[in-house]
Amino acid sequence: MISYIIRRCLYAIPTLIGVNVIVFALFFFVNSPDDMARVHLGQKRVTPEQIDAWKRERSLDLPYFYNNGWRRLGSLAADEAENKAELATLGAGTYALAVDAPSAATEAQSCNLRVQCSAPARLSLPADFASDGTLALPATTERRRFVFQIGPGDDEEPPELTLSFALESPAPTHRVVLEYKGDIAPLSRLTQTIFYQRSVKMLFFSYGRSDDGKDIGDEILKRMWPSLSIAVPVLLIAMFVDIFFAMLSAFYRGTYVDYWGVILCVLLMSISGLFYIMGAQVLFSKILRLVPISGYDDGLHSIKFIALPIVTVIIMGLGGSIRFYRTVFLEEIGKDYVRTARAKGLSEFSVLFVHALKNAMLPILTSVVAGLPFLFAGNLLLESFFAIPGMGSFTLDAIQRQDFAVVQAMVCLGSFLYIVGLVLTDISYTLVDPRVRLE
């Protein structure tokens, strides 16, 4: 048994890794961090400097998979006819100047670049440059990069570079970036990357920070409890209510009670959950004034806040669950052992509630077990309507604020919970049903 459980858990690992890779591709490849910054900053004209700052804030300026040590020191945008800037260096070492390709939307332009150093003797530019440090670049939309050295010398006051950059028709999308190749430990070459920081770490439940600077892991631990305080009562009460009505329907199968009961279930299923929530709020809070319309409190005081959400969720799920349980019961009633029980002369009541119910609980229990992990995940709509500070409203807020870090964390957590649910279902099957053999 234990070896089966261990094997089953190991099988889940490739799936978890797959989810992580999909999420990573979705968040960082289909959409580059630059695109994300543009959506997030939300303005029509976003300067490259703003994007750089946004990326640095979230450490999204790292390379994707392999960090070769290059990092950005400064940049110069071509927003005027003749641009000039003094950029501090870090002393002796290898540097690179990258002329950033303008995006496809702007036209390619030829430009003049000039590099001067406060310690000219230490600067050794590549051969493309003229002796006075100028370079005329032909028009192209490709990114061009020139590596050069600053030789050893007195680094008490590191030499400064003076960059000048001229364009015919200035556009801030054209710019020159100064990069420095620093020393980097072999391990950091892999860990100082977006993939490690934003994807591998999620496998170990380290979720980083949200856009407003809060630790996502702490936030999850805090918001789990309000979600659970609704989900657990719902699970228990709903199971009893659903089973009761489903048994009733099965008991009267083939009669008008059953027929109209099923129609009523379909009707309940056909109404959007939004209407249940809004209807409950208007009826019980606004008109009857029984409970507060929304909010949350800690401890016992929370009952008046969570009573209405609990009732609402139970009613929302009623139609679908009763119908599902009813089919389970009817399938069970058609089996041979039920006929035997009837043939023994048992009453219909005891056939149903003693013999059939026990066996019908198998599929019901396993479906409940599969849903157990999701109790933590909360209900998006409900929590936001009733202003309950749980996981659901956390996720919804993140989606609406376009907080990519939180959405990504919730996707990873959600799929982890789903996989845990699958594993639990398999295990509970083998525990409850002796006919299921372990491979």
Binding site: I22, V39, S270, L274, L380
Partner: protein, 451 residues
């Protein structure tokens, strides 16, 4: 004044869907298995009634799919993209009040300060279009509404009577028509009454039967326009990805081994990402992509249409895994059946066996899942709109209606008619769809048929 037809992406997909559906129906009806299932569905009154209502919705959506640009000599490039439904409801579209007004109201919902006899008074101003032909709306409106309702009823009953006569005559010659009894003419009468009432109540200087929304737009018109959005999401979503589900399901079930392992791995991985979060993540990305589109395609209608199609594709990606799993399980069983073994023994290739012997025999699963998923998708659209990742806010949809109305629930008195309209229209689509789906499942699921 002429017009130039416009084909949006979703329009093309709708036409493709209709052509594909028609072709499939023609092929399927040549086989007794499908004809028997069809007869069983046709024998159920609930199913036929539901089918009738779905047909009404489908024709509304189809009228709204025929898009064109009006072209006039002054404006050779064409005006705004319009649909045939817009043309039919032109009077509804034009009668835009300034703000909220209740159903059948003659006065605005909110007070305004106006100058009267040199004094400032706060009154509920009269609506610009509703009951414009009445002198004293407060006194005359009730009688006017009654009169219009009776006129509509008379017309509807008249047309309905014609339907009864026509069906009666038809029943004399066709046994199939007779077996339906009064269902068809009765249904036609109800539809005729509804249409006649809608026309009578809205016609020259009529009322806003579902009130107006915040921008003063007639809610009835918005709800009618939303029909297309709802139906497109309900149908295209499953149909865009169904071919992939069939392909992968059949491949996995037929070949087994490493093919099966890979396909199973892919769908387990995909289905373990929570649907709503995957949709949210993808929609955030699509928003960034749409923002970067060239200006020519930024026209609201076209951009909104792109977003609708993208939404369909993403919702499809989250929903094909279940179908794929069912098909795989069925093919695993079919692979061992004699006729497939015989086909193999005859030396038929893998492709032929799959296309000729396996795919046709899993089609009932496909049909059941498409029909049963429809209502869930229509309901999901409303939730997505609430989360802010649904169709474009400029596109009319029930989700957007609910989303806008939600903010008004805090008002006193409550602005309830937006919600009512969305509720009625959604319920009248989803309930028949559920009932019809159950009938189709009962007719096609062999497990149920044995009983």
């Amino acid at each position: 004044m002429g017009f130039r037809p416009v084909f949006l992406w979703s329009d093309i997909l709708v036409y493709a869907l209709m052509a594909g559906g028609g072709l499939w129906l023609c092929l399927a009806l040549r086989r007794e298995y499908w004809r028997a299932a069809l007869r069983q569905v046709a024998a159920s009154r609930v199913a036929m009634l539901s089918f009738g209502i779905l047909c009404v919705y489908a024709s509304l959506a189809f009228l709204d799919t025929l898009h064109f640009k009006p072209v006039s000599p002054e404006n050779p490039g064409g005006g705004n993209i319009t649909s045939v439904l817009d043309l039919i409801c032109d009077s509804l579209r034009r009668r835009t009040e300034t703000t909220y007004s209740a159903p059948f109201a003659t006065r605005s919902f909110s007070m305004e300060t106006i100058g009267q006899d040199g004094r400032q008074v706060r009154v509920y101003p009269r609506l610009k279009y509703a009951a414009a032909n009445l002198g004293d709306p407060d006194a005359e409106a009730a009688a006017d509404i009654q009169g219009r309702a009776l006129t509509g009823l008379a017309w509807g009953v008249g047309v309905g009577a014609l339907a009864f006569v026509a069906c009666g005559l038809w029943g004399r010659f066709s046994r199939a028509a007779k077996s339906q009894g009064y269902l068809l003419p009765g249904f036609l009468t109800v539809i005729a009454i509804l249409i006649a009432e809608a026309i009578a109540l809205n016609r020259d200087g009529g009322y806003h039967i579902f009130g107006t929304d915040k921008a003063g737009l007639d809610v009835f018109y918005v709800a009618l326009k939303s029909v297309r959005t709802g139906l497109i999401i309900g149908t295209l979503t499953t149909l865009i990805v169904t071919p992939f589900a069939i392909l992968f399901g059949v491949l996995a079930g037929y070949f087994g081994g490493w093919v099966d392992d890979i396909i199973q791995y892919v769908y387990t991985t995909l289905s373990s990402i929570p649907d709503i979060l995957l949709i949210a993540a993808a929609m955030l990305i699509i928003q960034a992509w749409l923002a970067g589109l060239p200006a020519a395609e930024q026209e609201t209608v076209i951009a909104a249409d792109y977003r609708l199609v993208c939404l369909c594709i993403i919702m499809g990606i989250t929903s094909w895994t279940g179908l794929c799993r069912l098909i795989r399980a069925e093919v695993l069983k079919l692979r061992e059946v004699e006729y497939v073994q015989a086909a193999d023994a005859f030396g038929l290739g893998h492709a032929t066996i799959m296309a000729r012997h396996l795919v046709p025999n899993v089609m009932h699963i496909v049909l059941i899942s498409v029909v049963l998923r429809f209502s869930g998708l229509v309901l999901a659209e409303a939730v997505l709109a609430y989360v802010g990742i649904g169709v474009d806010p400029s596109m009319q949809s029930w989700g957007n209606m609910i989303n806008l109305a939600r903010l008004e629930l805090a008002r006193d008195p409550i602005v309830w008619w937006n919600l009512l309209a969305a509720f009625v229209f959604m319920l009248c689509l989803v309930l028949p769809a559920n009932l019809f789906g159950d009938a189709v499942r009962d007719a096609l699921d062999p497990r149920l048929r044995i009983r």
